[in-house]
Symmetry: C2
Subunit: 235 residues, 2 copies
Amino acid sequence: MRLLLFSNSTNAGEEYLAYTLPYIEDFLRDTGKEALFIPYAGISVGYERYSRMVASQLSSIGINLTSIHQAGNKAKAIKNASVIIIGGGNTFYLLNLLQNEKLMEPIRKEVLEGKAFIGWSAGSNMACPTICTTNDMPIVEPLSFQSLGFLPFQINPHYTDFVQQGHAGETRDMRLREYILANPGTYVVGLREGSLLQVEGNQLMLKGNKPCKIFRHMQDAFEISPGGDLNFLMG
Amino acid sequence: MRLLLFSNSTNAGEEYLAYTLPYIEDFLRDTGKEALFIPYAGISVGYERYSRMVASQLSSIGINLTSIHQAGNKAKAIKNASVIIIGGGNTFYLLNLLQNEKLMEPIRKEVLEGKAFIGWSAGSNMACPTICTTNDMPIVEPLSFQSLGFLPFQINPHYTDFVQQGHAGETRDMRLREYILANPGTYVVGLREGSLLQVEGNQLMLKGNKPCKIFRHMQDAFEISPGGDLNFLMG
């Protein structure tokens, strides 16, 4: 299995997708450059504008991107692409469309058979067993919370320790502690902005310049830095 | 219908439930003081501790509180109480339990027939048609997103304009704009901390010391101050 899963598309103050490009270029070095983009999380942006934005950035590293919303036969487009890319936006909206268009199994099959997969934000939530650790608002009700399930653990994208002063709403850590209480068997990786997970076969690596934070029931949350051993998560 | 719906339980720096007490006392002036508390959102706190915390605070204004988790016959407890109170925590966890224990219809029936209802945070989400404007993490999958539906509009509790510097994750306004795009027929009330909605019959009032912010598809978001006319939301 070959996965590249970013916390976020764009670091604050940087150009769109800028920090992701060197990683994507390296990840696809020995792979075809025909990418299929799934813009379904982009409810605010619109599929057309979203796919053009991404195509424009990725063309700078030699990737030829087409978007699934323009494909006549979507299952065939998934089969023919050399890499599948799912962008961020609203996770519930994305999952609901993938389920309703019956695209979950075709994508799952290709990726489990070795096709490269890239996601960021909501796209990274898709690689997990469920969408239960998304930060997004549940603006539509998907058929189920089951996601593509490439990984046996959950990712929390845009992970932040930040506590808003004078605000009584839950912090991210409180939310993730609720998740592990309700789901005691599952690890969660809090993936900070500017960082990413890469999977090559059974090897899991953290890249970027920040540690990730690991949450599990009955354990103190702990941090692992890029280069540290994360393979216990794949067990 | 008689509803008292708070954005949050506790303002930062204040004692637990402190700002809510004068409103609750006033709301229940001509009502029985036998309250049934539903602590199901309190996954982190635990039902026992949660209900004791709330009982202790409400006893200071003469309310006698029992918790549904200790009731032998839950439907009967709902029927016999003079007021039903649903506390905050995780909205998905709360809704999932209410659905699985088949308590949605009994609560709905009592409140539609005139029984007083008080909620805060996740408890206020319960008064809306769906839980689609909760801020909570979807840590468990409820049977559906349908909520108690006392109101024809959505509430976003803990509403804040705050933008975290240097963070690329969605702001609250971005999330709510996604909601109204996907649900163009529905109003959302962004209810700031320290404020509340009160319903008496068909009259809807905003109380507290902050304006609320109204979101609807194809309209600019706008603010309404306490005392302003909100009855268009009930239409």
